[in-house]
C-alpha cells in the first residue's frame, strides 16, 4: 500500500517557481489499479515520481507499508526500489543509448543481486511478453536501432523483470500503435491479476477506463476529483472532469452537450479555485476560497464549490 | 528601456570580490610566512636581507629586520600586521633595491600599459574582423583556413615567436630597436626627450604590440565566429532576408551587433589578466614592467618583492573584474543579474 499525504512539489527554474503538485493526496491499495488523468503540465508525472521518492517534495510524505519513503535507506531502500517500479513517459530519454538492450533490462536485476543465469531467463521471457520476438535478436541491439514503440516496450520490460508489487506507468501506451496498445494493456491486466497494483498515468481518460479501478483527476497540480472508474466516466462532477470527458469523441448521437472551458489569460487567483479563470460555472466564492475535498457519494470525492 | 541599478547584484559582487581578496592575502601569508617558518624552519627575515648592506654583518641585519617587521612576534601578531599592511599598502622598504617597495612597484606598473593595452585593442580588432569574415563564409574553405589559424594561435608559444622575431628583424635586419634602453637614446648615445622620446617609444613598441595581438586574437575570433554563425542562422536574420534587406546590411546591422559583444566582454576579462601574462614579452624585449619585476624577484629569490608584486597583480585583477561586473550588464543585455 502506498499512501501520499499532502504532497507539494515545487520546481525552481531560473527565478520562477512552479508548483507542480499542490497538497495532493492519493492512496493505492494492494492490488489496486489507479488511473491518473489531466492535461499536459498538470503534474501527473511529478506526482507519480514523488510516490517513488524520485522527486523530493517541499512538503508532505509518502508512506510505503507505513514507512516514509523519503527517509528510508540501505536495505529498506533497495527493497522499496525492487517492489516499486516506474515506466517512464519518454523511452528515448529514459534509456541510456550507450547500452545494449540486454544490459538496459538487466541493470535492475544486477543491482538487485540476481545471478547471470537467472537474469538471462527472466530477460528473454520479459522481452517475449512485451512482444519483442525473438528476444535474442533484440537483446543485442542498441537503443538507436529500435523504434519508439519498441523502445517503450523495452522500458516496460525493464520495469516488470523485477516483478514489482506496484508500478507507476507514465503514459505507457501513448507511443504505441493502436494494434500494439491492447497487447500492452493486457500486460497490465495480467499483472493486476497477479496482484500487482499500479498507477497508470494518461492524459486520455478513455484509455484508462479499460484498465483501472479508480481514476484521479489532476488540474494545475491539484487533485480535483477522484472516484471509481464508473463514477468518473458516467457521472463526472468537477467542471474540469466534465470538460475532459466531453472531449472524448463518443459515437452516440444524443450525447449530453459538450462542456467547454473558457480560453483566457486571466491569472489563477492565489487563494481561490485553480480552475476559476476557465470555469464556465464560476461563482464569487471560487475567487477567494479554495474548495475542499468532499465526498459527494460513497467513494466519489470532488473539490468544487458546486457541491 | 529604462535602466535600473541592480543594487542587490552589485553588493553581492562586491562582497564576493572582497572575500576573494582576503583569501588571497591569507594565501600569501601561508606561503610567505607559514611554509617557511613551520615547514622549512626558516626565518622569513632572511628573505629581506641582501647579502651585504652598508657593511653590516648579516646577523645584525636579520635582527634589525626582525625588529623592524615584527618578525620576532608571535605568529598571530605577525598575521594581523600582515593583513593590515596589505590592506593599507604598507609594503615597507626593500634593502635589496634600497628603495620603498611601493615605489618600485609604481615604477613598473605603467610600463606594461604602453604595450599590453594597445595590443589588446589591436587583437580585438583582428578577432572581430576575422571572426565576422569567417561567420559570413561559414563552412567554406576560406572559413576553415581562417579558423585553423585562429586555433593555431592558441598553441604557439609566445616567447618562441618573440625570440624568432627579435633575432631576425631586430638582430639580423636591424629593423627595430631590440630593447627599450636602445630605443630611448639617440644614435649618438644621448637620452631622448620630448617628441623624440615618444617617437622612440612608439617605434620600439610596434613590433611587440603586433606580435602579441596576433598571438592573442584566436579565442575571441572563435567567439565572434560562433556567435556570428549562430545569429546568421537565427530566425530574425531569415526574416530580415525574406524582407529583402540586402545581405550586407543584414550582416552589418544585426549579425555584427550580436557577434561582437562576446568578443568585447572577453576582452575585458583578458584585460584583467593581461599583466599577469606579460613576463615573456617584457623579458625578451627588455622592458621593466610588473612581469619582469616578478621574474627578476623570482630569479634573485627576493620573496619580499615577489609577494607584494603578486598581491598587487591579484588586486589589479580583482578590481578590473569588479569594474567589469558593473559594465557588462550595460553592454550586454544577455548578462543577467544572477
Amino acid at each position: 500500500m502506498i499512501e501520499a499525504e499532502k504532497i507539494s512539489v515545487e520546481f525552481k527554474s531560473g527565478d520562477r517557481k512552479i508548483n507542480a503538485v499542490k497538497e495532493a493526496n492519493i492512496t493505492i491499495g494492494d492490488g489496486e489499479s489507479i488511473g491518473l488523468a489531466g492535461e499536459s503540465g498538470s503534474g501527473k508525472t511529478t506526482l507519480g515520481k514523488s510516490l517513488l521518492a524520485l522527486v523530493k517534495p517541499k512538503e508532505g510524505k509518502v508512506l510505503w507499508n507505513g514507512k516514509n519513503v523519503f527517509k528510508i535507506k540501505g536495505k529498506d531502500l533497495k527493497n522499496f526500489r525492487r517492489e516499486n517500479q516506474i515506466i517512464y513517459q519518454d523511452p528515448f530519454d529514459s534509456i541510456d543509448i550507450r547500452m545494449r538492450i540486454y544490459d538496459v533490462i538487466s541493470e535492475g536485476l544486477t543491482v538487485q543481486g540476481f545471478s547471470k543465469q537467472e537474469q538471462r531467463e527472466i530477460i528473454y521471457s520479459a522481452l517475449k511478453s512485451v512482444g519483442l520476438n525473438p528476444p535474442e535478436a533484440y537483446s543485442n541491439a542498441f537503443p538507436t536501432q529500435l523504434s519508439g514503440g519498441q523502445l517503450q516496450r523495452v522500458a516496460i520490460a525493464r520495469s516488470i523483470v523485477l516483478n514489482p508489487k506496484f508500478i507507476v506507468a507514465d503514459e505507457p501506451v501513448s507511443m504505441l500503435d493502436v494494434s500494439i496498445r491492447s497487447g500492452i494493456l493486457q500486460i497490465f491486466q495480467d499483472m493486476k491479476e497477479k496482484g500487482t497494483s499500479s498507477l497508470i498515468i494518461s492524459h486520455d481518460i478513455s484509455t484508462l477506463a479499460y484498465v483501472v479501478d479508480k481514476i484521479y483527476i489532476m488540474y494545475l497540480g491539484h487533485v480535483v476529483e477522484y472516484g471509481t472508474t464508473q463514477q468518473i466516466i458516467e457521472k463526472p462532477l468537477h467542471p474540469y472532469t466534465q470538460a475532459l470527458i466531453s472531449a472524448i469523441p463518443i459515437p452516440e448521437p444524443n450525447h449530453e452537450t459538450e462542456i467547454k472551458l473558457v480560453e483566457t489569460n486571466e491569472p489563477v487567483p492565489p487563494k481561490g479555485c485553480p480552475l476559476y479563470p476557465r470555469c464556465p460555472f464560476r461563482k464569487n466564492v471560487c475567487l477567494d476560497n479554495e474548495p475542499k475535498m468532499t465526498e459527494v457519494e460513497p467513494g466519489h470525492y470532488v473539490s468544487c464549490h458546486l457541491y | 528601456m529604462r535602466f535600473s541599478v541592480p543594487w542587490r547584484y552589485l553588493v553581492k559582487r562586491i562582497i564576493e570580490r572582497i572575500i576573494l581578496l582576503i583569501v588571497i592575502i591569507n594565501f600569501l601569508f601561508l606561503i610567505i610566512y607559514i611554509i617557511p617558518i613551520y615547514v622549512a624552519h626558516l626565518n622569513p627575515a632572511e628573505f629581506y636581507v641582501p647579502l651585504s648592506y652598508k657593511g653590516l654583518s648579516r646577523s645584525t641585519e636579520v635582527e634589525a629586520i626582525d625588529r623592524e617587521f615584527g618578525l620576532n612576534q608571535p605568529i598571530f601578531v605577525q598575521y594581523i600586521d600582515y593583513v593590515k599592511n596589505m590592506l593599507t599598502f604598507h609594503f615597507g622598504y626593500s634593502l635589496i633595491y634600497d628603495e620603498p617597495v611601493s615605489k618600485i612597484i609604481l615604477q613598473a606598473l605603467p610600463v606594461d600599459l604602453i604595450i599590453l593595452v594597445p595590443s589588446l585593442i589591436l587583437s580585438t580588432v583582428f578577432a572581430i574582423g576575422l571572426g565576422l569574415f569567417s561567420a559570413v563564409r561559414f563552412g567554406r574553405l576560406s572559413d576553415s583556413i581562417n579558423t585553423f589559424f585562429a586555433i593555431l594561435t592558441y598553441f604557439i608559444p609566445g616567447f618562441w615567436v618573440l625570440i624568432i622575431f627579435l633575432q631576425i628583424f631586430g638582430f639580423q635586419l636591424g629593423l627595430f630597436p631590440t630593447n627599450i634602453a636602445q630605443a630611448l637614446i639617440s644614435p649618438s648615445g644621448a637620452p631622448l626627450h620630448g617628441w623624440a622620446y615618444i617617437a622612440g617609444l612608439i617605434k620600439f613598441s610596434i613590433a611587440p604590440i603586433i606580435i602579441l595581438a596576433l598571438l592573442a586574437y584566436g579565442v575571441r575570433m572563435a567567439l565572434t565566429r560562433s556567435y556570428g554563425v549562430e545569429s546568421m542562422g537565427s530566425s530574425y536574420v531569415t526574416y530580415l532576408r525574406a524582407k529583402g534587406i540586402p545581405e550586407r546590411s543584414v550582416v552589418y546591422k544585426h549579425v555584427m551587433r550580436n557577434a561582437i559583444i562576446p568578443a568585447i566582454t572577453r576582452t575585458g576579462i583578458d584585460f584583467a589578466f593581461v599583466i599577469a601574462g606579460s613576463v615573456f614579452v617584457e623579458d625578451i624585449f627588455g622592458f621593466y614592467g610588473m612581469g619582469e619585476l616578478l621574474y627578476r624577484s623570482a630569479l634573485t629569490f627576493n620573496v619580499q618583492i615577489l609577494g607584494d608584486a603578486f598581491y598587487i597583480l591579484s588586486l589589479y585583477v580583482i578590481v578590473v573584474l569588479l569594474v567589469l561586473d558593473f559594465i557588462y550588464p550595460l553592454i550586454d543585455p544577455r548578462v543577467k543579474y544572477e
Partner: protein
C-alpha cells in the same frame, strides 16, 4: 566499438594528428636508440662534437651553406715522394732512409671541397732511428705553403730561427698538429703572421688556410745528423672539426641539438602525461562530485575553482616555485615532481568546470533517474551512466590539457625557473635565446625545432580531442 574506430579512421584531420602524435611518441620512447647521448647539458664529453652553432648536415643543400664542412677524418694515403733519399711502404709504415743531409718529402694529396672547418689536425707517429732528424709538417695549396710545425731533437732546437718542437730520437713520437694548439711559439707559419692575427691564430688558422681546392699535407724528413737515418712514419691522418653536424646541427657548446630535441621530447611527453593525469584527475573528481552531488558541495567546489581561476596563474606559479626553492623544500621534493605538482595543481580548473557542466546535464537525464529507480546507488550510476556519457568530453579535455601543460612547463623552463639541468624543449629555447646574439646570427636549427614540435604536438592533440568528443557525443551515437 568497431563503429567508433571506423568513424575515427575516416577523418582526415584525426588521422594526420594521430600520425603526428605517434611520431612524437616514437622519438620520445626511442630516444635511447636515436641518440647515444644522455645529457648534453652536463656531460662535457657530449659537447664539442662539432663547431658551436654548426648547421645540420642536410642544410648544405642551401647555396649559402653548401660549402660548410662536416666532421672529417681521413687516413692520408698515396703520397707523392720527392727527395733524394730512399723510401718504401710495407702497407702499414713508410720507411725513409736518408744519408746525411739527404731529405725526402711525403706529399699526401688532400682534396678539400669545403669552406674552412672549425679546426683541423694532422697526426702521425714517427720513429726516427739515427743521430738527428728534422721532421717538418707543411700544408700546401698550389703555390702557397703553410709551414705548420717543425720537429727536431731538443738539443738542436736552438739552431733554428723559427720555432720548433722537440723530437725524441730512437723513440715513438706521437705527433699531433692541431690548429687549436698552434701558436707563434710552436709554429713557424704563425710566427710570421701580423701581430693581431698571431694572438688569435688558433681560432682563425682554419680560415686563413682552408678554402675549396687541392691541398697536400707534406711530411718532410731531413737528415740533419752525420750518420745514416731511418725514419718510420705510421698512420698519417688528417681530421677536421666541421661546421655542419648531424640532423639538427649543434648548440653553443657544440652539443647535438638533435640529441637535445629527442631527450626533450621524452621529458616533455612524460611530464605532460603525468601532469595531465593530475589535472584530469582533480578536474574529473571535483567536476563529477560538484555536478552529481550538487547543493552545498557544488557551491563550495565551484567557489574554490573560481578562486583559482581568479588568481593570476603564471605569477602564482612563479611565486610558489620561488618559495619552494628559497625554503629549501625543493631539495627534499626534487624539481621535477615539484613542477608537476605545481603545474597540475594550478591547471585543473577549466577541466573541472567543463566536467561539472556536462555532469549536470547528464544527471538531469531521465535514464539516470531510471537507474536510481531500479535501485542503483550513486557510485554505480556514475560508473555506468555518467562516465560513459561524458567520456568524449574527458578525452577531449585530456587532449586539450596536454598542450597547456607543455606550454606552461616550457615557459617556465624558458625563463630559467623550471628545469635547467637537462634538455627540455622549453629550456632549449631559453638557451637558444640567451646564447644567440647579432654575432652568430639566427640559429634556426636550434630555435625552430622545439617551437614547431610544441605547436605540432599541441595542434595534433587538439584535433584528436575534438574528433573524439565529436564522435562520442550523444548526437553522433544517435546518428543525427
Amino acid at each position: 566499438m568497431n563503429r567508433l574506430v571506423n568513424q575515427l579512421l575516416h577523418r582526415k584531420a584525426f588521422l594526420i594528428s594521430l600520425v603526428i602524435l605517434l611520431f612524437f611518441i616514437f622519438i620520445a620512447s626511442a630516444a635511447n636508440y636515436l641518440t647515444p647521448y644522455k645529457d648534453p647539458y652536463t656531460i662535457t664529453s657530449e659537447q664539442h662534437l662539432a663547431a658551436p652553432y654548426s648547421i645540420p648536415i642536410w642544410a648544405r643543400i642551401f647555396p649559402q651553406y653548401s660549402k660548410y664542412p662536416p666532421n672529417t677524418n681521413m687516413d692520408l694515403k698515396s703520397p707523392l715522394i720527392l727527395g733524394n733519399g730512399s723510401e718504401s711502404f710495407n702497407g702499414t709504415a713508410y720507411t725513409v732512409e736518408l744519408k746525411p743531409s739527404e731529405y725526402e718529402n711525403l706529399s699526401f694529396p688532400l682534396s678539400w671541397n669545403y669552406q674552412y672547418p672549425y679546426s683541423f689536425s694532422i697526426s702521425f707517429i714517427a720513429i726516427p732511428h739515427g743521430q738527428a732528424a728534422q721532421i717538418n709538417v707543411l700544408l700546401k695549396q698550389q703555390n702557397k705553403t703553410y709551414f705548420l710545425e717543425s720537429f727536431v731533437p731538443s738539443a738542436d732546437q736552438i739552431l733554428y730561427t723559427y720555432p720548433t718542437c722537440p723530437l725524441s730520437m730512437g723513440k715513438t713520437n706521437s705527433i699531433t698538429i692541431s690548429s687549436e694548439s698552434l701558436s707563434s711559439s710552436n709554429s713557424p707559419y704563425v710566427s710570421t703572421l701580423p701581430g693581431n692575427e698571431r694572438y688569435i691564430a688558433s681560432a682563425i688558422l682554419p680560415q686563413l688556410i682552408f678554402k675549396p681546392g687541392k691541398y697536400s699535407v707534406i711530411i718532410s724528413i731531413e737528415n740533419i745528423g752525420t750518420s745514416p737515418l731511418k725514419v718510420y712514419i705510421y698512420q698519417p691522418k688528417f681530421s677536421a672539426v666541421g661546421r655542419a653536424y648531424g640532423i639538427l646541427g649543434t648548440d653553443n657548446n657544440g652539443a647535438s641539438v638533435f640529441a637535445e630535441f629527442v631527450l626533450g621530447a621524452r621529458f616533455d611527453l612524460e611530464i605532460a602525461a603525468i601532469a595531465t593525469l593530475i589535472i584530469v584527475g582533480i578536474g574529473l573528481i571535483f567536476g563529477l562530485v560538484a555536478g552529481y552531488v550538487g547543493g552545498k558541495v557544488d557551491l563550495f567546489l565551484n567557489a574554490l575553482t573560481d578562486f583559482f581561476l581568479t588568481i593570476p596563474g603564471l605569477p602564482l606559479l612563479i611565486t610558489l616555485e620561488t618559495i619552494f626553492v628559497v625554503s629549501g623544500l625543493i631539495l627534499k621534493i626534487g624539481i621535477v615532481p615539484l613542477l608537476i605538482a605545481i603545474i597540475g595543481g594550478l591547471s585543473w580548473m577549466g577541466t573541472m568546470k567543463i566536467i561539472r557542466s556536462v555532469t549536470l546535464s547528464v544527471r538531469s537525464r531521465t535514464f539516470v533517474e531510471a537507474s536510481k529507480a531500479l535501485g542503483s546507488g550513486p557510485f554505480r550510476i556514475i560508473r555506468k551512466h555518467v562516465l560513459p556519457n561524458i567520456l568524449g568530453v574527458v578525452f577531449a579535455q585530456i587532449a586539450y590539457d596536454v598542450p597547456v601543460v607543455i606550454l606552461t612547463e616550457s615557459g617556465l623552463d624558458f625563463l630559467g625557473l623550471g628545469i635547467t639541468k637537462f634538455p627540455t624543449w622549453g629550456n632549449m629555447l631559453g638557451y637558444a635565446s640567451a646564447y644567440t646574439s647579432p654575432a652568430n646570427g639566427f640559429v634556426w636549427w636550434w630555435v625552430l625545432p622545439p617551437g614547431f614540435a610544441i605547436i605540432f604536438l599541441s595542434v595534433a592533440l587538439y584535433f584528436i580531442g575534438s574528433t573524439l568528443q565529436d564522435v562520442l557525443s550523444p548526437y553522433k551515437v544517435r546518428g543525427e
